[in-house]
Subunit: 278 residues, 3 copies
């Protein structure tokens, strides 16, 4: 292992310890399919969830939240209004917020919402490859909710989205994370995970919430994003050894999110980094 790789793993472990020590409160404005699973993922990983997503309270709650997740999976007019108020409050208060742009590339209404929210500069944009391509407007042929593109194909789109955000990730069999780290724009590829992840609903959504949790405690958004992907991928890898199928994967995965610790990260994390620029 190179010195760079060793230093990066140490920084990831320190960020993981910070999550467990600080238990950040994550305000989630998310889709109805994901809410229960997402809250359990956050609790198991070491964060505290709060699904405050009405226009009456969303901005006020940002004051006590460590980070905010905005997920466009099942937007309603009222929830979108709450999203606007929450991201404005986050920008004003300097709280990191994460955009998960489900379906924004395929559906005009939420595409307009995503474009509007981007003006408030999310710390991180996280999606699967099709969603990242869709959001960047590069003409995805996705049906809007699947993950038919390979993350490697999404690198140009992710790079374009860095105009709006400090870090971007496209998840898939190998997750691709882009952002500036140690003075250069870099691409990190994180291996691990499980073929069962896309067979369970809202796993990507829950990863977005975990990214928000890590941005609340990380030195930089890109380090929080990398740590979230590593934590998630290692837990999925462990869970697959216990699971008989996509049903038994769910409780095993939640158990594994709780069980991941520094020594496991040191032993099993697989991250490779490439300089793209600088």
């Amino acid at each position: 292992m190179t010195d760079f790789a060793k230093d990066l793993i140490d920084a990831v472990i320190a960020t993981h310890v910070a999550l467990r020590t600080q238990t950040p409160l994550v305000q989630c404005l998310t889709n109805v399919v994901s809410s229960n699973f997402m809250a359990n993922v956050l609790l198991a990983a070491g964060a505290a969830p709060a699904m405050v997503d009405n226009p009456e309270e969303a901005a006020a709650f940002v004051q006590v939240a460590g980070a905010v997740l905005v997920n466009l999976g099942t937007p309603t007019a009222a929830q979108v209004e709450a999203m606007r108020l929450a991201v404005k409050a986050a920008a004003d208060l300097g709280r990191p917020w994460v955009l998960d742009p489900i379906g924004a590339g395929g559906l005009a209404w939420r595409g307009g919402v995503a474009a509007e929210l981007l003006a408030y500069r999310p710390a991180v944009i996280r999606g699967n490859a099709s969603e990242i391509i869709g959001l960047a407007g590069l003409g995805s042929s996705s049906r809007g909710f699947d993950s038919s593109n390979d993350p490697a194909d999404a690198v140009p789109a992710a790079r374009a989205l860095l105009a709006h955000s400090a870090a971007v990730s496209a998840s898939g069999p190998v997750d691709h994370v882009l952002g500036e780290y140690e003075g250069a724009l870099r691409l990190f590829r994180i291996a691990g995970g499980s073929a069962l992840l896309p067979r369970v609903t809202a796993t990507g959504c829950a990863l977005g919430a975990l990214v928000a949790a890590y941005t609340a405690v990380a030195a930089t958004p890109v380090l929080g994003l990398i740590t979230a992907h590593v934590h998630f991928a290692l837990a999925a890898e462990q869970a697959q050894t216990q699971a008989q199928g996509p049903g038994s994967f769910v409780p095993a995965f939640i158990d594994a999110l709780d069980a991941v610790d520094g020594p496991l990260i040191k032993a099993r994390a697989r991250i490779d980094g490439t300089v793209l620029e600088g």
Copy 2:
């Protein structure tokens, strides 16, 4: 086994293979209790879920969906407006849609909604016996959400509902499916399932979504409906052998939906058919 029964099982297996091959995209306008479980049932069975149920996007999404599910479990004014737009789009575009009329017989507001939606001719109406009786207006004494009637009692109601729909099913210990098949109006009775199914919330709702998935790939609505019931019943039967109670039944059932295949259907499906007319 008669030639008719053998041919029917072969058609069911072919329909199941079509689901696995085509992974139809199912747009679900459903209740909040069911959404996560329903999405996981669809993914495990072999379809792709998308819960697009706001008035701004519901009609547009029908264009890319293979089928649409409308479930009246927890309607809001906005969701009902989305349902109207979605079923109109489905009718215009020739997409099959499925009505699950939860509580329509017991609550006047959603009863009116159901009556209005029926004008757009669902491919299938699916409910438990009490719901089918309630929808047909035959004076169910149900509390609105339970399944106190026997499916056999719902046959006259199901038959009346064939004025609105190509196929109707009333689920219960033995599921009853009505529709025209090989030139005659027939009643199919599908055995299997598990006594734990009604002990878990939203299992009926999830079956409705699976019916929608199968109507997207089946030669006829009634064949899709039969295949969904067979797939569901066999998975429940398998899951019961693994479960300690209603909690452990859930992951086992999702695993089993994934595991069901042609040979299992051939070995274990129990369908009997009776000509009602013609």
Copy 3:
């Protein structure tokens, strides 16, 4: 064991038998995170859930419900209107209803809603210690959704809330229940449970729903409240012996809610009672 303690356990067992015999229908107006888990908790414990929470139907449904739960976890303007209509109908019809005031102490809008609903006199108020302190306006420093206070600290707040409700509980490692029983105002402390309960989302919410179920069949609200806490605590204790972590705890807990019976209550319930007044 004293005669008082023996009589109390016998009354708890009789109340549990009444739940299993009567299967009360519980109308839940609850948050989106909890709805699926809550419905499964009610079904496993022996009640029947119905999540009817729109303004068009909420009041009408109270007529067929045995009890009503109002949980303030993710209120929307429309759901709050439904809550107003439902508790007014419950008051008019003499149906018991339960208030779970999540976040009411920390967020002004829902705090106002809670204050307004209290005028319709819930049979029971249930929360964690921070929520009970927050609702009573005693200046909780909670972040609104956690349980950082000890239930013993919430006793003065719970006592103050008895001005609005027949019984109040603050849950935690040892649950604290206050109410009049056999001619005196008493404090009951119920031990058991599991350290995994606060690691799973919506367990407190689901307990609130189980409280509502028991108030539908109990001789008095305080007896229903005690029985719900005992049932929940024993099931959690059993589940912990099966669980590898917070993920596998969930199915084990649902199984255990189903398995709790009179002999287990007799053998394992730990309740101590103190006279506070009278």
